[in-house]
């Protein structure tokens, strides 16, 4: 499952990233790693980006990036 397919307020665990080395690096730069728990807090209007919670802080993540974040439902 990909982050952009997710509904709001559902907790998931990040499995990894697709989209190559560059994508990996960008996520790392912003302190996002596989294994982190995350949820979508809200979605911007007009098919805009997501506001995402990762380890207690909030990040704006664009749709094209969210598409490359692989997640699974947390138990």
């Amino acid at each position: 499952m990909r982050l952009n397919e997710l509904d709001e307020n559902i907790w998931v665990t990040i499995l990894g990233f697709s989209g190559g080395e560059k994508m990996h690096e960008r996520m790392t730069q912003h302190g996002i790693y596989p294994g982190d728990k995350t949820r979508i807090i809200r979605t911007a209007p007009l098919k805009g980006p997501f506001l995402v919670e990762v380890s207690g802080r909030e990040l704006i993540i664009g749709r094209s990036l969210a598409k490359n974040i692989l997640v699974e439902l947390s138990v």
Binding site: G19, K22, M23, E25, R26, M27, T28, Q29, H30, G31, Y33, P34, G35, R42, A44, P45, L46, K47, G48, P49, L51, S55, G56, R57, E58, L59, I60, I61, G62, R63, S64, L65, A66
Partner: protein, 568 residues
């Protein structure tokens, strides 16, 4: 002795720096506010110390400009103590960088900032425990209120005196980003106890300000309030100041002859001084205070969130809204802030478009001409036209340079109550740039123009721009103010009086001409300082492109407004 401040973006490094250094660094509740380092000498109990504020970064071995600057600085300079500023409310991410810094084997201490925020949100952070485990000193800090600053620097001095504080305890783990991340989570879990997380003020405010309908209404209202406020304050201050200065100039003129060169020169200088004081500052000051307030409250990333989808239509991401908003203050920092964009195509588009944003100098022209003579609604109309032109230009550039860049990622900071001191300091910091760099140019330009007029040389400039003035149905004499406008945009307004022989512009220009002139000034060639910055950031070729593009746009927009004036 040299101390360097290192930390993740938005952790309060620059705030701390400003507490000790007077006001030298710009801060903002925003990722990537600082992209170069700032250095200052600070006196701590009788000793002068170099303090360096490095750009905020999440990791050291990264590829973006801020990370590179920080990394290179730490490797290539002799540093006595690294002061690692960490945000106690986001301990996990902060500690990742801390772990990376520990590997450098340099004397280090940790300043745990935002301790007031910690108390407010009910977190319990065990500083002494962390200190025990990491083997480096951990000191509490509330940089925004200056609490803990002195003891921090005294401690740093003590570290140098004792010649220790290199941690040897915390080295036995694999040095990769992912293992640091895991370690940091472990540490944070160990030393932070989450109190009850209740639905905060932030969540409730975001429910409104990020709402699909109310959010945009809120955005429109906030911007409207902002510009009305700027206009209101400017209106209050400008007329009495103008009267005051005109009185003085008249007084002086009655003592000197305007027939000789000296008299003309004095007059030109006085006009320049007056222009800066009575026309520019009344609008610049409230604008910068307002902008600083929006920045520190944390509203700018929220605008980015709301505007991302729309920005996509002009080929940019929501993050690129930053250069635009900064651009309303001054295009120079706007161009600088495009450094936070990763993609070179996006940088070019963002830089081009942000030179079209009417900066405070052009705001002065707009308010001084259009708002003053035609009313504030016309000024608002011009701003709308400007937005439309920017969007259209973005569309066209996107068609020519298709989008291949990755999406946006940006930290959403909590709301913070700005301190009056920080906001005023920031406004002063930016105004000082005007006073030191722009005002002298302005006075010089005004004097130079007076001489040109005295020797009757100005007409040659006017011939040069004749095709433009003819095309836009403007008096030939506005050629000189237009040319000097490249030096500083305010000059276009200020020199207009000189050139046309009256400061009551409605006597010498029709309403349509006033509007067309302003439209042209708003769009055509960015000012000299912006051009220099463009060259530095993007290279000569791209700078020339921007110049050509803006002239074309200015001619088109000016032509359209001439036609409109002709129809109405």
């Amino acid at each position: 002795m040299k101390f360097v401040l290192v930390g993740r973006p938005n952790c309060g490094k620059s705030t701390l720096f400003n507490q000790v250094a007077g006001y030298k660094a710009e801060t903002g509740n925003f990722h990537g506010t600082t992209v170069t380092y700032t250095e200052s000498k600070v006196r701590v109990v009788g000793e002068v110390i170099d303090v360096v504020d490095l750009p905020g970064t999440y990791i050291l071995d990264g590829s973006n400009p801020a990370e590179k600057v920080t990394h290179d600085y730490l490797l290539n300079n002799s540093v006595d103590v690294i002061i690692n500023v960490i945000d106690a409310t986001f301990l996990t991410q902060s500690l990742e960088l801390t772990l990376e810094l520990l590997k450098l084997n340099k004397p280090m201490l940790i300043a745990m900032n935002m301790m007031d925020e910690v108390q407010r949100t009910g977190l319990k952070v065990d500083g002494p425990g962390l200190q025990e485990l990491l083997g480096v000193r951990v000191l509490p800090l509330v940089a925004s209120k200056g609490r803990g600053v002195k003891s921090l620097f005294l401690q740093a001095k003590a570290i140098v005196a004792e010649g220790q504080a290199i941690s040897e305890r915390y080295q036995d783990y694999e040095d990769t980003p992912i293992s640091r991340h895991k370690k940091a989570i472990e540490l944070a879990e160990q030393f932070v106890k989450q109190g009850e997380r209740n639905l905060t003020f932030r969540d409730r405010l975001d429910d409104v300000l990020l709402h699909p309908v109310y959010g945009y209404i809120g955005l429109a209202l906030i911007l409207l309030l902002f510009f009305q406020g700027v206009y209101g304050v400017g209106q209050l201050i400008e007329p009495p100041l103008l009267t005051f200065f005109e009185g003085i100039i008249k007084n002086i003129n009655s003592h000197i002859s305007s027939q000789n060169l000296i008299g003309v020169l004095i007059n030109g200088v006085l006009q320049g001084v007056m222009a800066g004081f009575a026309i520019v500052l009344p609008y610049l000051f409230p604008f910068l205070v307002g902008l600083g307030f929006l920045e520190d409250v944390g509203y700018l990333p929220r605008i980015a969130f709301m505007m991302d989808s729309l920005m996509h239509r002009i080929g940019l991401h929501g993050k690129a809204i930053v250069p635009f908003i900064l651009g309303y203050g001054c295009n120079v920092p706007a161009i600088m802030s495009t450094r936070t964009l990763e993609d070179s195509r996006e940088r070019f588009i963002a830089a081009t478009l942000s030179t079209l944003v009417p900066c405070a100098a052009r705001l002065v022209v707009v308010f001084g001409l259009v708002a003053f003579y035609l009313g504030p609604l016309w000024a608002l109309g011009l701003y709308m036209l400007n937005l439309f032109v920017i969007a259209l230009t973005g569309r066209i550039l996107t068609m020519l340079l298709p989008d291949t860049s990755p999406g946006m990622i940006l930290e959403m900071p909590p709301y913070r109550i700005p301190t009056l001191k920080a906001v005023l300091n920031k406004a002063w910091f930016r105004i000082r740039e005007f006073l030191v760099e722009a005002w002298p140019t302005l006075i010089f330009g005004s004097a130079a123009l007076a001489i040109l007029v005295f020797y009757d040389l100005a007409k040659y400039f006017n011939y040069l721009v004749k095709p433009i003035t003819w095309l836009l149905d403007l008096p030939e004499a506005v050629g000189v103010p237009l040319i000097f406008g490249i030096l500083r945009k305010e000059l276009s307004l200020i020199m207009l009086g000189q050139a046309l022989g009256s400061v009551n512009y409605s006597n010498v220009l029709t309403n349509a001409q006033l509007f067309t002139f302003t439209v042209f000034v708003v769009f055509f060639i960015p000012c000299a300082a912006t051009l220099i910055m463009l060259k530095k950031e993007l290279g000569t070729k791209k700078m020339l492109w921007v110049t050509v593009i803006t002239i074309l746009i200015a001619l088109t927009a000016g032509g359209v407004s001439r036609l409109l004036g002709w129809l109405i």
